[in-house]
Structure formats: C-alpha cells, structure tokens
C-alpha cells in the first residue's frame, strides 16, 4: 500500500475541540495489499483473492477485507493523537464493498476525520472512508483518551 500523506511523527494533542478536522490521507489498495493483509490477519476468505469466488457470492469481483479498511481508517486517529494506546473504542458498519481490480493502481480509498464530541477527557472522532465518492464505512467512530 502506498500512502500519499499521513503517518506524521507522533505528537500529543491534549487540546481537542468539537468540529476540529483531523488530517486525512489516501491509499491505493491493490491485489498485493490484499494478499499481504490476508497473511497478516489470517483471513483467507477467497472473496479477497479469487474473482471466481467473489462472483459466486454475487460480487463484481475481488473485494478488500472490511477489516483492512477499518484498520487503515483508524490511522486518521492514531496519526493525529500519536499514540495508538489512547484508543478506547472503535465501531464501524461495513456499508459498501471496496472492489479491487487487478491493476497497478487498484482501488483508491480516501480517509478523513472530525471530532464530534469532547467530554471527560475523551474525544470522539467520526471517521469517513470514501471509495469512488461513496462511503464504505457507516457510523465509524473512535473514542480517544486525551
């Protein structure tokens, strides 16, 4: 996976206000990305590497692991707060599949985040993940200890 931005050096953000927009980034998810994630996560469901298996389930072709999109999206939060240990909770709905054609570019997914709540030393971040201008994660929110 290549990253066009994000992954800045860690820093602490004790100040967080509702409405703050966190730096976003884009990734190119290729078939190689999916193979790598399959091995790392031990999720070998063939719909993530076989067009034939994906089409048997009514999909247009190979799709990315939902958990790959979920895990990548959380970098919006961990890059911002600088410390993954501050993440208290994380929820997503998988609303649309990310189809990954067998091309060098693969699928481009763009991530962004906004702080929607700050209370009792905890910030709630709403995360957006867009593929072809469509949201692929629904109600994606993470709680972070400030």
């Amino acid at each position: 996976m290549t990253t066009t931005s994000g992954n800045e050096s860690p820093s602490v953000h004790p100040a967080a206000e509702v409405g703050d927009v966190l730096p976003g980034f884009s990734t190119h998810v290729t078939r190689a990305t999916l193979v790598h994630y399959a091995g790392a996560s031990a999720d070998f469901n063939p719909i993530h590497w076989s067009d034939r298996a994906a089409r048997d389930l009514g999909l247009p072709g190979v799709i990315a692991h939902g958990m790959l999109t979920m895990g990548t999206a959380l970098r919006v939060v961990t890059d911002w707060c600088g410390d993954p240990a501050r993440v208290l909770s994380y929820y997503v709905r998988f609303t649309k599949p990310v189809t990954v054609d067998d091309t060098d570019e693969g699928a481009t997914v763009t991530f962004a985040g906004t702080i929607i709540k700050v209370a009792d030393g905890v910030a709630t971040v709403s995360i957006e993940a867009l593929f072809n201008d469509t949201k692929v994660l629904g109600a994606a929110t993470a709680e972070v200890r400030l």
Binding site: Y37, A42, Y90
Partner: protein, 142 residues
C-alpha cells in the same frame, strides 16, 4: 439451525496465542503503518485492530457447532466494535472466548451478534463485538 434459543451460548476459550514482535510488525505493515514507532521496539503495542486476529480465531468454535448449521463462506461481516481496557502488547498470551449475544432469523437469513472476550493473565484486554449476516441456500430450507 441457529435460533434465539442459542442466545447466551458460550464456547471454551481458544488455545492461548502469544503476540509476537514479528506478527505486530507484519500487521502494521499490512495496514500501511509499518514505520509507526509505536509498533516497534521493547515497548511495542499492537495496532488496535490487531484484536481481530485473536477474535476471529474464536469464530471457528461457532462455525464448527453443527447444531447451528452455519458456514463461514456464506457469512458477511456487517459491523464491528472493539472496546479496549488496554492495548495488546508483544508478549501478551491471549485467549478469546466467544458468546452468542443476539440472533434474528428472517426467512433464509440470520443476523447474529457475537461478542468475543480477549483476556491475558486473567485481565480483560478487549471486547470485540461483531454482527454477522448469514444466508442459507433457499433449497436447504424447502
């Protein structure tokens, strides 16, 4: 076939899994975050969603339960929640225990909510809750 009578069913914990530095680095790299210093060195934590490596290992017990008539290949993951007590760290010896929390059957489909508790040395690390949509072939129910 699974039904609401199975709500509350809990399976034995998985065989303990020791989180290794190599696996944490591999997982971080797969998320495009391999250069993040939090995931390397003697105080390394695992990327938060590494919890799925442990929680999904516990799914096998439910799919192997013949009484439920479920197949992983006919299952779609529709939502996921993690609530961490603390991050998973290199060296943690983790077990995962699955419980069936909710079952809603409609026609040939079932929405199943499962909760997987991740524990190390008696301490709760994380609760991973998933909603799965399972669909049976229509002919099986004829």
């Amino acid at each position: 076939m699974i039904s609401d009578t199975h709500i509350g069913r809990t399976y034995p914990p998985t065989v303990p899994y020791v989180v290794s530095a190599a696996k944490v680095a591999e997982f971080a790299t797969a998320l495009g975050d391999g250069a993040n210093p939090a995931y390397a060195g003697p105080d390394a934590v695992a990327p938060p969603t590494f919890a799925v490596v442990l929680s999904s290992a516990a799914w096998a017990a439910m799919f192997d339960d013949a009484e439920l008539d479920l197949s992983l290949s006919r299952t779609v993951h529709t939502d996921q929640r993690f609530a961490w007590q603390r991050p998973l760290r290199v060296g943690d010896e983790v077990t995962a225990t699955l419980s069936i929390e909710k079952v809603r059957v409609r026609g040939t489909s079932a929405f199943i909510t499962i909760s997987v508790a991740l524990d190390a040395s008696g301490d709760r690390l994380c609760d991973a809750t998933s909603t799965l949509l399972h669909t049976w072939p229509a002919k099986d129910l004829a």
